[in-house]
Subunit: 418 residues, 2 copies
């Protein structure tokens, strides 16, 4: 029997009517001849409520108890979904993490899968059950404690089940109808992509197209799980949504697939840092320890005169989210005070945004960067920092030009056309 | 290390402040030198919310899914209580039913304990944990499905743990401060009992003093678990509340311990039923099948003339809750229509209440019934039906006299005095 994994997020199971709506989608796939594994999140708002209770109860909380409390939201949805399916004459049962079992590491609140043995669920399919409704986001450690995977973990659960059970596809039902070439709120010309490569999705996800958890895409890429993102709130069929798949499957031959952005970035520059081996580690070690998510890093070599001698110095520029600037400043001034780094000045610009073009076709096409820079130049947008990877070019620009930049780039690469 | 079981009901853990208050009581017992097993209910209202969701999702619901959903409320409280205790520097952890494991039968929604192995919890006490917080009301079947014990099951869980772990005492914290000689809302002279025998508690509980689940008292009696009922909302010490214990421990030598009542009863009389062997079964079998909870039964033999012959007939009177009268009438008319019983008339009186005096001392004291009837007679209260057991005498009277009867009986047996 071909098998499908279907995942419904919090808003897709936010109340009993939505659970019924999701169950109807599951039933349709059963009628098409599939065995289905359904992965459910907690009803929207429930996880936040539980997390709030934990945080109010204990400020230095035991992650094992946090997990035991927070995982209960998914258990409720799983049971209700199974009941709804039964009510629609679909043979279904719910599975909590420990019942499958979904074996994970003991890293509570950010556990990783160890393995998902198929025997228990396969036995139920063999008995005639058509649907296994599995509580997402959770697992069980070898000590028999309940674990959770961290926020958004239900996507990862879905992909892991698709890999373990050799699913034909893993359908992620959510509140958007697919992956777009850019944010439709910024560019009305944004177009839904029929297909996107894993690598592109990874760049888009981490850059702000917050539809799929990054880890779930990584896992899908590793196990070649075909992921489909589609809407819970529309009638959907085989051609709905966006398929996230391997490059070979992706017949669209555009060089650039999408334009991503991150609005609230900050640019920090350490002026005239002494240039010596290990200096980068001396700077970014303390930042990492302080929990600063450093994104782009640019280094320029220069020289400076000290006591009549010319010594090699460097200007080190990096970006991080605006709300981490204070932490970054403290980490750097502390490092300077302790003598592990020296610099003349720390210049902070909290008014920048990052805009990126992403496309797997860049690997074989030259000229994307030039076209990007010239499009920005035509709009008189000054580029402050440039960073590149194999399939992405990012720039930092003044925040006030962000929307304009996204629109200009969407136009220049003609992303509105399939 | 001496061990105590402490159980907190829904209102006692109704919000985070109340959980903190309950945790403080637990900490006090730990400081007195006890290892403690805490049994918690769901936060008040949560179980009803979950049950509502199940009922709205599926009208003929699968009890296994019902249990999986409904049991989640206790898991949340258990985790939060463990966190709160940790926050107060008490080494504690939560236990869900399957983690202990609390092995039960597979009778979902009304499961019975099979056994509660001590090994896992004992190992944690040996490691230095002082408190095991156990989710009440739930267990796990041998198929690995979550079971529940039925409403009020957390009391039963508490007693079962007290029995399994040889607890010195099982303290049931609730929203009343003990067991009273009668309902204080009816008689202002009602007095809190320091001690009460299991047998008396059983009669009082099933008659309307809804403090302890009947099954938990039965279990306590069987395993000689000393139960204490006391208030969550007051400062309590070793002498607080009411101790439910074996008769031998009960030093109060009153003949009558309490006056119970049940307001909304109905009296049904089948006139001139043919008196033959098996007639009682022919009447009460269909009533049981229809889910009618028959309480008191009285039968009088008489005779009637049929075709010039005198045949033995009987008037059969029984009582049941008012809201089951329609069901009872249908069951009886159906039975008459099918010819399994014959009767001349069915007389229904829906305006009666039951009042009972309960006391283990009755077993060795004559004259209690006479004193009861004469006290009611002195108030001109007519007795419609009388029923007796070894330690209880019950009467049905017109509902309008119920409060008067309770007060008169409380007075005549001087229950206001210890």
């Amino acid at each position: 029997m071909p098998l499908l994994v279907m995942k419904f997020g919090g808003t897709s199971v936010g109340d009993l009517a939505r659970i019924a709506n999701a169950a109807a989608k599951v039933k349709r796939e059963v009628e098409r001849g599939y065995d289905v594994i359904v992965i459910v999140s907690a009803m929207s708002g429930k996880t936040n409520e539980l997390v709030g209770w934990v945080e109010q109860t204990s400020h230095l909380y035991d992650a094992r108890e946090y997990d035991a409390v927070v995982a209960s939201g998914e258990n409720v949805t799983a049971g209700l979904m199974a009941l709804r399916l039964q009510q629609m004459d679909v043979p279904a049962r719910s599975w909590q993490g420990w019942q499958v079992p979904i074996n994970t590491t003991s890293a509570h609140s950010s556990a990783r899968f160890v393995d998902i043995p198929r025997a228990n669920i396969d036995a139920k399919f063999a008995e005639g059950f058509k649907v296994a409704v599995v509580a997402g986001f959770q697992g069980v450690s070898h000590e028999g404690r309940i674990t959770t995977l961290g926020r958004g973990g239900s996507d990862t659960t879905a992909v892991a089940f698709a890999a373990a059970f050799g699913a034909e596809r893993c359908d992620i039902y959510t509140d958007v109808d697919g992956i777009y070439t850019t944010d439709p709120r910024i560019s009305p010309k944004a177009r839904r992509l029929d297909r996107i490569a894993y690598e592109e999705m990874l760049e888009l996800a981490s850059l702000g197209a917050k539809v799929l958890q990054t880890r779930s895409v990584e896992l899908a890429m590793r196990y070649k799980v075909r992921l489909r993102v589609l809407s819970s709130f529309e009638d959907t069929d085989e051609s709905s949504g966006t398929l996230v798949c391997a490059e070979e499957e992706n017949m669209e031959s555009k060089v650039v697939s999408g334009v991503a952005y991150s609005r609230d970035e900050a640019k920090l520059t350490l002026m005239s840092v002494e240039d010596r081996p290990g200096i980068a580690a001396a700077i970014f070690g303390p930042l990492a320890s302080a929990g600063v998510n450093v994104d782009m890093i640019v280094q320029n070599i220069s020289e400076k005169e000290v006591g009549g001698n010319s010594i090699a110095v460097t200007d080190m520029t990096f970006s991080c989210p605006v709300n981490q600037v204070a932490r970054a400043q403290k980490a750097l001034t502390d490092a300077a005070a302790s003598g592990t780094i020296t610099y003349d000045d720390l210049i902070v610009d909290t008014d920048v945004s990052k805009v990126s073009v992403v496309g797997i076709g860049m690997r074989s096409h030259a000229g994307v960067a030039a076209q990007m820079f010239s499009a920005l130049s035509a709009e008189n947008i000054n580029i402050k920092v440039i960073g590149t990877s194999e399939i992405k070019i990012s720039v930092l620009i003044d925040r006030k030009y962000m929307e304009l930049a996204v629109q200009a780039l969407h136009d220049t690469f003609a992303l509105e056309r399939a």
